[in-house]
Structures are given as C-alpha cells and as structure tokens.
C-alpha cells in the first residue's frame, strides 16, 4: 500500500487549499455578507443613511490586506525574527481574511496580532511588552484583544508548511543527485538566493492557498535557474512520467502569480483606507452608537443565560431530572469558576 505523504495528512492540505475560483467566491460572499450586515446597522441607526456609503469591493479588501502583508517582513527585520515567523505570520493573515472581512477587522491590528501569535506557534516567543514597546502607537491590548479571534479564525490550526523550507529541501537534493558537481552549494549560492527571493515574493500572492510548498519552491527555482529546476525534476520523475506535462503547466501558473505580485501602491491603498473609515462595521467601533447597542444586547443575553443556569441549578438533585430536563440547549461552558 502506498503511504500517504506527510503533507497530505496536514491541516494545511486538508483545510487551506483553494482553486483560484473558489478563493474569489469565498471573498465575494464574505464581502457581500458584511456589506448586508453593516448596511442593516446603518439603517437601523438612521434609515436611508446607507445609500450614500460606498462599501469596499472584495478586490479593494484584498489590496489592503496585501499592503499589510508587505509590512510583515519589515517588522520581522526589525525584531530579527527568523524567516519561519515571517512566513507563518503572512499565512495567518491571509487565512484570517478567508474567514473575516476588512470591514469588520482592520488589517493593521490583525497583522500585529498574527505576527505575535506566529512568534509563539513557531517557538520563538517574545514578551508582549517587548513586542508592543517597539511598535509605535501600539498597546498590549491592541494585540491581545484580537489574539483569540485570530486563533479561532485559523481554526486553531497553527502548523504551516512553507515554500522556503521546500526550497531548502530541493537545494539539499541538488547537492546529492548523481553526478552533482562538488561544492555546488558554494558555487551556485547566488541561484539559491535568487530563488529564495522569488519564494518571498510569492508570499504577497495567493500562491500558497492554491499550490503546495514544493510546487512554489520549484517554480521559484525555475525562475532563478531553469536548468537546475529541470535537473531536480528529472531526478524525481522519469522523463516519460505522466506528471511532467501537468507539472510544467502548474509551474507556469505559479511563475505568473509571482511575477505579478507587487507591493500595492500606497496612494491607491490610502484611498481605500479612507473609504473604509466610512463603511466599517460601526458595531466594531468602540464608543459608537451601534457598538454600545451591541454591547448592551450581549450583556442582556449573558444575564439571561445566568438566570437560566440558576434556574436549572435548582432542579439539580432530581435523579431523573438532569438528562431529561436539560433540553436541547445544553451549552454549559462552566465559566463561573
């Protein structure tokens, strides 16, 4: 029986792979759901007030997220975080916005939280104080308040497989293929460095949500040196292998993604960000009318739950009561201790 590759047992393989079309549709439906909710909130506050609002499109949301993705390497450079932290934070930020929208949660704080969480999940922890003290206009609560939401949005799936690791693996392979020139690692170091730059550029794109780390790594290598990429592929697949034509198409698509991935134009993003100020979910703006209304509603619900729990507690002790009287509710989170 053929063994399943380790990668295929990962949560990344199982839960975070999309086709370009499915990515677009996930983003479109998140966007339209958010617009509907926010429009509703505006209207209940003041009827007719939503008609003048120009909400963000899915592409504009993505543009904003990309800008903040591009900030991660700068921060990581400042803190001297290893590449794994950087790559993981980028993945977290992308994954977060496949479950949430920019109009609810601004990517600035989500980015800071994703990076902080990534330091911990990759075993490179730093104290929250040391982290926020070095980032202008950021308090510990800006990071901590969102940490749970980010972890939850990731489905608590913290392990991420990265293309830069796959590139390193290919690089090691290339030094041990039959007839590999001696000292290849030193004589061809510039090729590795160039390929790594392409891997880094790929992080701005959707590549990792569509392709496997090793596909991205091989495409990056093929941009730096088509010959070495073919040599490696030849060592893995027989020349007449049915996988080869498909592989070429895949590599070409990834190269196109990498080549077109650029840091968004700051002016364009600024215009989007300005509009975001007007169309973001008022329930998430601390102090706004809608925020206060939501908070009051939440408190009312919590109180209701406490009352219900207290009422249930009085029926305890009935040997037949627990199972039957509990009813379908059954959410007991035992948070009172």
């Amino acid at each position: 029986m053929a063994k399943t590759p380790l990668y295929e047992a990962s949560t990344q393989f199982k839960n975070w792979r999309y086709s370009p079309d499915s990515l677009a549709s996930v983003r479109a439906s998140l966007n339209s759901a958010a617009v509907a909710v926010i429009r509703n909130t505006f209207e209940s506050d003041e009827p007719g007030s939503s008609s003048a609002v120009s909400f963000l499109t899915p592409d504009e949301e993505l543009l904003l997220v990309r800008l903040y993705i591009s900030k991660i390497p700068q921060l990581c450079g400042f803190f001297h975080f290893p590449e794994e932290v950087e790559a993981t934070a980028v993945s977290y930020l992308k994954r977060f916005y496949l479950k949430n929208t920019v109009m609810d949660w601004h990517p600035k704080n989500v980015m800071l939280t994703a990076l902080f969480l990534a330091t911990k999940t990759t075993n490179n922890p730093i104290s929250l104080e040391a982290y926020t003290n070095n980032i202008p206009k950021t308090s510990p609560s800006d990071v901590l308040d969102l940490e749970f939401l980010v972890a939850q949005s990731l489905g608590f799936e913290f392990a991420v497989w990265h293309a830069h690791r796959a590139l390193w693996g290919i690089w090691l392979d290339l030094q041990s293929v039959p007839d590999a020139p001696r000292n290849r690692a030193t004589t061809h170091a510039d090729i590795y460095d160039a390929a790594l730059q392409h891997v880094r550029a790929s992080r701005l794109s959707d590549a990792e949500l569509v392709y496997t780390p090793s596909q991205i790594a091989l495409a990056s290598l093929s941009m730096a040196s088509p010959d070495l990429a073919s040599e490696w592929a030849a060592s893995k697949f027989p020349p007449d292998s049915p996988s080869v034509p498909g592989l070429q198409t895949t590599l070409a698509s990834i190269r196109a993604l990498i080549e077109s991935s650029v840091v968004p134009n700051v002016e364009a993003v600024r215009a989007v960000d300005l509009r975001l100020k007007l169309c973001k979910n008022p329930e998430k703006v601390v102090g706004s009318k809608a925020y206060l209304a939501k908070k009051a509603e939440d408190e009312r619900k919590a109180e209701e739950k406490r009352m219900k729990k207290a009422a249930e507690a009085t029926t305890e002790g009935d040997p037949f009561g627990d199972e039957l009287a509990g009813g379908p509710g059954g959410i007991d989170d035992d948070d009172d201790d």
């Binding site: 911990k120 075993n123 749970f148 913290f158 392990a159 959410i331």
Partner: protein, 365 residues
Amino acid sequence: MDAVEKANTERQKRWVKDQKVGEGTYAVVYRGREASTNRKVAIKKIKVGQFKDGLDMSAIREVKYLRELKHQNVIELLDVFSSKTNLNLVLEFLDSDLENIIKDRSLVFLPADIKSWMAMTFRGLEFCHRNWILHRDLKPNNLLIASDGQLKIADFGLARDFADPGYKMTCQVITRWYRPPELLFGSRYYSTAVDVWSVGCIFAELMLRTPYLAGESDMDQLKTTFRALGTPTEQDWPGHTKLPDYVPIGQFPKTPLRDLFTAASADTLNLLAQCLVYEPRKRISAKDALTHAYFFALPYPSHPSKLPKCAAQITAALPLEELDGNTLSGKTNRLKRKLSSPDDSTKTRSTVARRLDFTKPTPGS
C-alpha cells in the same frame, strides 16, 4: 454574529461537560460527551485570560501538534472551541494511564503484556518522530490507556518540531527520572534519541514495577544513571566531557543489566540496552526498535484488549450486563493471571477475552 463566532458556537454545542475530574495549574479537565452520540470525551479547559503574554506556550504547542497528528497510539484531539476567554480542547476519553497500572499491586504483568505496551509506545513515538515532532516529556503517566487497552501518547505541552541540525533547543525538558544524560549535561543540540531514552526508562520500570533511575536532583540523576549503567568512557560516548554542563561524577563500573533484570529474555535486555546507549547517535531509533528481534520473538505481544487493567477501569469499560452476568470472567482477567507458557495463556485467556472484547474494532492508524 460573525461567521467565526457562529462556527465556534456550533462547535461548542456539540460537546457537553459533565463533571470536573481534575485541576492543574493552567487547566481544568472535565469528563464530558458528544451531545449527539453520547460518546465519552475529556474536555481540557485552559484558562487564557490570566497570562499577560496571551495564549500560553504549552497550550499552543499541545493544540498545534495534536491538530496535525492522527494515529492509533497518539491521543486524538477531537475539537477545539472557546468559551469567553477559555480555550477548550476536546480529547478522546481515556480512563487510565500506565503509571496507575504499574502502581496497581494486584496486577500481574506477563512478558507479553510489557511487549504490547512497548510496541504501542514505539508505534506512537515513531509516528511523532516521522512527523518531525519531539515529545520531550515521555513518562508512564503521559501514556494513557483507552478502555480497549490501546495505549496513547498524551500531553504535548513540551513538544516541538525539529528539522535543521544546529538549531539550539532548551535542555530543561523531560521529567528528571526519564531525562537522558545528554540533557543533564546541558546539551542544546539533540534529537529524537532523547525520547527513546525515556522509553528505555519506562521499559525498565514496567519490568521492575518501580522507577528505574529515580534521582533526587539533576546531579543525583546523573549519579543514579551512572551507578546503574556504569560511568561512560570517552570511547562509549565521544565528546561528552565537552558538553556545557559536564562535571565528573565519579567512576562506577558497568554492571550487566542481567543482574537486575533477572527474569528478562536476551532479546528484552538487548532492546533495553539499545534504548539506554549513552552516545545519542548510537541509541536505537523508534523505527528500528519496531523491527527489533524482541518484537518477533515469543511470547508475542498481548492483544490490547487482554492487557491488565486497573479495577476501576474494568468497571468503567464494562457495559452493565457484563457486570451483572459475568463478574467472574471480569475477575479472571484481572486476578488470575499467572505466568504460563505462551500457548497455554492464549488458550485459556482467549475464551475470557472473547467475552470481554465488546469494543468496536479499533480504527486504522
């Protein structure tokens, strides 16, 4: 409500907490069940709000690794949800652990039983190592036992991944009695061999029914180890005197394992010795251990369902009618276990086992 929040509420509704069964420094454990099936589960509620640095590292490690690992001999993380500022891990329910079983003086271990526990431990460990994960806290009470007898490696709060040589790691890991000498000497570069040493200590403990190398301090741990296995020479373990925290401990002679483990077979002692090799690079790997002659020699490992269980565990596992009608067979399994030839024991025990073997077929790994 946000989609993420909504999904969380859905998850939360799937599980019901029934009863608090334990409380640790950072978590409370409940016995609970899946609402729709009544399947028993354990819910580990981790208090998050109290940490100034947010989600704490052991919770993160545990979730990170258990989310990825699915194997018959590794505890299964069924779900994760949050309630306010608490993180809830829904784990499969396991009613005992190897420490309880070792300490239960009413139980007799056959060599085949020990072999079975060792095989399951090495299978689970080989899977972790194959996935580039070091456990770093193996000890009998982290080896949990399911009602069908399957052993599951649990508690990944100290686990980490490893890949590149030359990446510094902390040496403050693994409970002292199960900690290998390279960590006691302060090595910051180590490997899967650290877990194998722990398994060696557990192997010895299963035979002795008491911890094998029970040092009273880190220094005493080295002394205890060397007293049992002899002080390593430069030839046994090249370079060990250059490790960061190396101190000369004294010269103890090597005594054959046979002197202490008088009843053990040659294969048993060979595998044990290979788990306890000083030079980490020469210590046997989990993968090689699985193909060691010990596992292919008679007696064959006991079927998990026939392994000794604590009394409480048997009652917990038995459906009511079994308790009513077949009390005797339950007792037979627990008390009347005598060392007999492999043929005999399979014959007499198989009848008992068939009656006891009510569990569902175990899922493939």
